[in-house]
């Protein structure tokens, strides 16, 4: 395995991140050494059931963890820079320029008292240099007499009124990029006037506005109806071909993963337990949990009399099981699984799995 070349085209590297939540009931060991990387230009899917740590992983990357969380180990490198070592202001700049995140419920993340235009233009107004460049390119002028004299001289800075005009033009661009039918009208509307699908498009527009290196989409279609979900998936598929950045798609829906992702990482109880190319993972799942998950979903393209189930339920992470965290539910568990945590192991091209069944010649 040429892990050196893999590291070279990595955009984001998450290395052995451990994270605890302090609660009255005890320490919740939410992430237990999460390791994966996102390559340049790819879409990586992060799948798992609720409580497995997929959203926490995303929040750790963007530095938006709640107060009671603490990262005890590990590093997250974005183009070589460790995000976990950054100060509050530094990580804020990263969020402004390099990483954009869209969440499940657009209603809670849009400001209800500002119009879409006000919220979207704000994103552009933060970057005065870009505004100046765009203004020059497109020859956007303000009406004669309104132009204020730029006193600072050399720096390419536009007057406020002109900046706003440019920001508006850019907002319209980005809204039409997300296929909103009437961008000019949408700019003047408040979030409550839009439907769920339209709000989600606005959130995506805001994320794209910064042309991010990494776009994190956390369950963005979960709250939507099937036909609206199809529209958003289609949009993401289109944008994927246009954008240069990478995507980290977090979802519990294996269908969405199959449609959009290049590679998939499966999480269980705070660990990445399997990672492979999307086709490989669906054709040849190796980890007993991944296998169980795939047999547990009803699929309309094949007939099954009975669904297979994974016995039991997700463990309590205050007292996680010893060794492999899946062992109490695993049909193949043996002595070693209780004692030792399995490491992620390369088993084929680009396919890694954390399971004792595949170690030391047992594959």
């Amino acid at each position: 395995m040429s892990s050196a070349t893999e590291k070279n085209d990595a955009l984001l590297q998450v290395n052995n991140v451990r994270l605890d939540f302090h609660t009255y009931a005890g320490e919740v060991k939410a992430l237990d050494g999460v390791t994966f990387l996102v390559k340049k230009g790819e879409a990586l899917g992060l799948v798992g059931e609720s409580g497995c740590g997929k959203s926490v992983t995303a929040l750790t990357i963007v530095g938006l963890l709640p107060e009671n969380a603490s990262v005890t180990e590990g590093e997250i490198l974005l183009a070589g820079e460790n995000l976990l070592a950054m100060t509050h202001d530094q990580i804020r700049k990263v969020r402004a320029n390099k990483i954009a995140m869209v969440f499940q419920d657009p209603t809670t993340f849009l400001n209800p008292v500002l119009t879409i235009g006000e919220q979207l233009e704000e994103v552009f107004l933060l970057n005065s240099e870009r505004l100046a460049n765009v203004a020059a390119e497109r020859k956007i002028e303000v009406e004669a007499g309104k132009e204020e004299q730029d006193t600072s001289g050399a720096a390419p800075k536009l007057a406020r009124s002109r900046q706003k005009k440019v920001a508006k033009a850019l907002s319209i661009d980005v809204l039409s990029q997300v296929r909103l039918a009437d961008p000019e009208r949408t700019l003047k509307q408040y979030p409550h006037e839009l439907s769920g699908g339209m709000r989600q498009r606005c959130m995506i527009a805001m994320a794209l506005a910064r042309n991010p290196l990494l776009f994190i989409a956390d369950e963005i279609t979960t709250a939507l109806d099937v036909t609206i979900q199809a529209q958003i998936l289609e949009l993401l598929r289109e944008l994927k071909t246009q954008l240069s950045g990478s995507t980290l798609l977090i979802t519990h829906d294996l269908g969405v993963v199959a449609e959009l992702c290049d590679r998939v990482a499966v999480m269980y109880a705070g660990n990445i337990i399997e990672l492979a190319d999307v086709k490989e993972l669906f054709a040849n799942p190796l980890h007993p949990y991944t296998q169980g998950l795939m047999r547990a979903i009803p699929m309309i393209d094949r007939r099954m009399e009975r669904l297979e189930t994974i016995p039991g339920s997700v463990p309590d992470l205050i007292y996680p099981p010893s060794g492999c965290r899946f062992h109490p539910r695993c049909p193949f568990a043996f002595e070693k699984c209780k004692l030792e945590k399995p490491e992620l192991l390369h088993v084929g091209k680009g396919h890694t799995v954390a399971c004792h069944l595949y170690g030391e010649g047992k594959a």
């Binding site: 036909t227 829906d253 294996l254 009803p298």
Partner: protein, 338 residues
């Protein structure tokens, strides 16, 4: 010929919208706007639709948890919408219901024993309390929990376990028909599979008829014998499951099935993507209610509402045109490992 257990004719539920100081009725939310359906003995009828299509309201109207505005509900030959008091109580015990949210549907201050024995007492099914407790013990074991659980409170259970309790409660009155209103949408997939299997087992064991309401097309496909597709308060198409999923004739059904992401990256298929959003049920489009999003809509669709008619026996469609639609999912059984 299997018997019809439940028949619904022209069911309507319009919720009034009031406004102003006088509280005058300004309009109606037409949640259910003329639904006909027929459920046969021992089958699972899947009712599928997007949010706001009125599927839950149909379920609640059957039990008269919501009083329907118009229409008939006929249970084994008896019209039940006008029944009152004791007469209705006798019919209602033949119905069970499982709600979507197991965190809201169980009383937090009542033990599981209380939750299971209360319906039996209310419907005077059993002579003594002891008998009721015995029956509760039996039911709790049938749903995969044990006797000790009877003395606990809902907060001590996980979502999947609570849903098992809700299923046990629905069975306390020895029902004939069970309405399952999104019973697994709050659960994770591994737990969902457990509940779906449990429901299939219980159906065989107790000879139950299910009305399975869900927005999840894969779950409906797995569970149902026949499927009705709802859009904006009306049924667009109803037929055997195989027809709905493989050879739909209504453009909405076709788009719905083709929009579903299938967990199989090797599958390539043509996708129909509907533009726009579902219109508001306050202001349902004239003529065919689907016409605003239908790729085949014509001027005629604006004028006249298509009736729900049987093209072939057992295949009902509400569309003016006989469209030739492609198969929304390729048959890929052979290419798949199970």
């Amino acid at each position: 010929m299997t018997k019809t257990v439940l028949e619904i004719k022209g069911l309507k539920k319009w919720f009034p919208i009031t406004g102003g100081i006088l509280g005058r009725v300004r309009g109606y939310v037409k949640a259910v706007d003329g639904v006909d359906l027929e459920i046969k003995e021992g089958e699972t009828y899947g009712l599928v639709g997007e949010s706001g299509s009125g599927k839950t309201t149909v379920g609640r109207c059957i039990l008269r948890l919501i009083e329907p505005t118009a229409g008939e509900i006929i249970y084994r030959g008896q019209e039940i919408t006008k029944l009152k008091g004791e007469a209705f109580r006798r019919v209602r015990r033949k119905f069970g219901i499982v709600f979507q949210d197991p965190y809201a549907s169980l009383d937090p201050r009542q033990t599981i024993k209380g939750a299971l024995t209360e319906p039996m007492k209310y419907h005077k099914i059993l002579e003594s309390d002891e008998e009721a407790v015995e029956k509760a013990k039996d039911l709790i074991k049938r749903v995969g929990l044990n006797e000790d659980h009877l003395y606990r409170f809902p907060h001590e259970f996980s979502g999947g376990q609570r849903q098992r309790i809700a299923v046990a409660r629905a069975l306390t009155t020895d029902p004939d028909v069970v309405i399952l209103d999104e019973p697994t949408s709050f659960l994770d997939v591994s737990v969902q599979a457990q509940i779906l299997n449990l429901l299939s087992d219980l159906q065989k064991e107790f000879n139950l008829t299910y009305l399975f309401i869900s927005h999840n097309l894969s779950v409906i496909e797995h569970m149902s014998n026949r499927v009705g597709v709802m859009y904006l308060g009306a049924i667009m198409e109803a037929a055997d499951k195989e027809i709905i999923y493989r050879r739909p004739e209504h453009p909405y059904t076709h788009a719905l099935i083709s929009a579903l992401p299938i967990p199989n990256p090797a599958l390539t298929r043509e996708r129909v993507i509907l533009s726009g959003d579902v219109p508001s049920p306050v202001d349902i489009p004239s003529g065919c209610r689907f016409r605003t999003r239908c790729p085949y809509a014509t001027d005629y669709c604006k004028e006249k509402e298509p009736p729900l008619v049987a093209r072939q026996p057992g295949h009902l469609i509400s569309c003016h045109y006989e469209l030739k639609l492609s198969a929304p999912i390729p048959l890929a059984e052979a290419s798949r490992k199970t």
